[in-house]
Amino acid sequence: MLARVTITAQRWPIVGRRPELETFERALGSGEFAGLVIHGRAGVGKTRLADECRQQAAAAGHPTERVTGSRTTALLPLGAVAGLLAGGLGRPDPDGNVDTVALFGQTRRALHERHGGRRLVTVADDVSLLDAASLALLGYLAAQGTIFMIATARTGEPVPDLVSGLWREGRLERVELADLSRTNLDTLLHLALGGPIEAGAAREFWEVTRGNPLYVREFVLDAMESGALVERSGVWHLEDHVPGTTRLLDLVEHRIGQLSAEARWVVELLALCEPLELGYLETAVPLEVLESLERAGLVTIAVADGEVRLAHPLHARVVRGAMPRSRARAVLLAQADRLEAASPAPGPAALRIATWRLDAGGRPDPAVLVRGAHLARYAHDFRVARRLMEAVPGEHLDGLGALLLGEALYELGVFDAAERILARGQQLPSSEQVALRLVVTRVKNAHWGLCRPEAALAINSEARAVITSRPLVEELDADEASVLMFSGHPQEALAVLERIKGTDRRTRTVRAIVGSVALATTGRTAEAVKVAEAGFTDHAALGDELAIAHPATHVINQVFALTEAGRLAEAGQLARAGADVVASQRVPIAQIWFAANLGRVATLQGRLATARRYYAEAAGLAEAHRFAGPRCLALSGLALALAMLGDGDAAAQALAARSTGPAFGFLAPEQQLADAWTAHASRRPADAAQLFRDAAAWAASTGHLTAESWLLHDLMRTSGEDTSARLRGLASDCDSPLVSARARHAVAAQARDARELAAAADGFEALQAMLLAAEAAAGAAEAFSRAGDQRAATAARRRSSSLAAACEGAATPGLFQAAAVEPLSGREREIVLLAASGMASKDIAERLFLSVRTVNNHLQHAYTKLGVSSRADLAEALGSAT
């Protein structure tokens, strides 16, 4: 029986996984799939199934490979896939660009050649532990058809973007593994033990393991080793209850605890540095030790290449967890020295050596660290880039290194430290190109991170003493314009942009980022849309470079420009598509901007609950990722939506939250909409009107023409104040139909022209600005009624109600007009709103500096017009109007 048990430990049977294996066969055979993802809980058999797939593929003549993520390999980009890399790592040019495209392409060609064009079936065990650059390479190779990837991932752990990206494109097959059923567990026991098992033992195995295959395996091997599970007359018996413990981890610890000192040394070495060559291990320990470990099912020795590994990732985790740090360090450093002595030439070995030294807290080759940081940056893994650059000794740091570290710190939201290292970087040797990028990154950090636009402009201006060659100066101009634009000075930003010729693609791209927003803000919306489109095209052709915004920025700008152009439906559609893309790529800043723009579009459409949701999402993301400026903007939008929904308290809370962070100059006058509407919803109409007026004046002085139009129109909507003259002026200064529609509405409202108001409603409806359309229709109803045309009045009122139904609970004063048979005067409306909120006449009188008698008189008039007889009915009458 012993011979059979040995076979069992080395090749544990696989049971109940045939459907999954068939799925793998189909996926590999069809050519349509780039890989297979195996999901499941710990111990459910993901690794085992992946290896079985690999074996089947090997049996069918496929070349195969295996990469394993671990805490150690995750320390250095591409650490886990060192075995796949044909040549060495890419080396950055003096300007800091690592040619990853060439590196990946070279790897692909080498693999293609090595395997005669056959797909390399590659097991990536536990993808969540792979570093981003390794994933990028695997994703690239899989997408190119160079490898077929078999990835395992634990249920509940996030699947890395590259894997989920292939999945979304339908290029990945996927299986979800569950624990074994009782029948399958009994089948497994029978096959593993090679004979029947006594009923009590079978039940105990089931009760303890609940069908978790790894647990069963560890349990059986442990019980056999300890003599608790024995065969008598062809039937297996469990003499004791499970020895020791009933937890899987304890079980593994128990098994490893039983090992001899030599065997334990091998297991520890593998836990830290696997895979290791059989040849090396044979020189270090007697062969019997390795054989006994293999018999115990703790290590596997590959026949093909002689690579020795631990049998299961859980073993590695347990061993590492139990090892004193000092001992782990000693083992890692000794292995690094050994491998370095054996293979002095740079190449894949250099990567493993550096990884081990890093893990040991030692000092690896700074050149390897810098290259690693470049690769991490390419994969947008700023955490790793930061850790690697921080491990580079100060005397090895040049301008480029400081740029890498500073940029990573900025991306990670550590703005003070970013400022320090970038300022220091400007003193270190670097090319002019790198010097420029240090400036640009430092300016970005000062502006967006530290929220100090004046400091950002000062850094930009000082840099002009050092950076003098033509295209680079243009980039400084673009940078200055950016600070001006996004601190609330679009007019000045446009003036600076005039200086830029835009002869090279990079400068044109940077110019477009600022230009499209500045043009849209100042009312040149058609141009703005075109510039954003061209910017995206230029950026796409630019390739990957340091210190330039994410390409999605152009799409965000296009959304903004379309919104300002009154093309709300298109803006919403584009923003939703963009939001999907950046959510899958996890680019938080772009996610925030898309969400905020979606909130803005929804606000203008009158879909206020939707707006509230998007703004809340944007604010939450901005808070989580410490983007203070966007957070301020999003909270302003949130307060605006809440106030227009009639919830003054919630709106005030959003503004209070906003005031805990720094102010943000971008669209600052527009942000005042939130303050004004909150004042209005909090029954402070006079404050509201003053806030609208002041913000409109601010907008006018800085060139925010579309915002000025919005503010003046809302002043008219909330107070009835005549703003039609300036709105008409803005309509002729801007090319936006939305700005024109506002002017038309204001003029018609002032003239109480029923037909023109109805036409204004048409205009808004055509733009999908439903709330404004509903309000204009309500105004038309009032005007028709005043003119004695009750039939037209009723029709307009009905239309207003149906338009308002799309506004998700909007509670704006313009809607209340529809409830009145005769129009309420401005004063009456003001008092009715206060009374409907439950305020006593005395309090209303105090608030408005009127006598109680006057208040009651106004109320009586309003009751008559609204056809109600008490305060209680008032709220209902107003409610029915919305």
């Binding site: 049977p13 696989i14 049971v15 109940g16 045939r18 459907p19 294996l21 068939e22 066969e25 590999l28 055979g29 050519g31 089947q56 593929a57 049996a59 069918a60 003549g61 496929h62 079936v121 029948t183 399958n184 009994d186 089948t187 029978h190 096959l191 090679g194 004979g195 029947p196 098992i197 006594e198 009923a199 079978a202 062809g234 039937v235």
Partner: protein, 141 residues
Amino acid sequence: MTPEQIDLVQSSFERLGPQLPVMATRFYQELFRRDPALRSLFATDLTEQEARFAEKLAEIVRAIPRLDELLGHTRALGARHAGYGVRAADYQTVGNALLAALAAVLGDGFDGPTRQAWALAYNLMAETMLEGAASARPIGS
């Protein structure tokens, strides 16, 4: 399997006695009811097929206590079936048909523990046949 389960399979099989051909006929009826597409894999006249099935089943049931011999046998059987393109899902269907046929012929004698014992025995056969089939079938491109 437990020794008791092996007994249950063997003793219930013996109880079939002269009813074995009836059970075989019932098995194919149950099978084609569950998956009519399988019918085309067999000859129009099933008489011979039913006899072969009964014989094979008797052979397997007898061999259950001698695992090595049995598994060698079922693996080879699986490898022979590989060419037909039989998949894991088909094995499931066959298993259900077998349990239904046994239940129909044995009646009350086919109780819960007997059913569980047969289910396990069948699963053991199916897993080893599938393993045999997999190692015999070339895959991929």
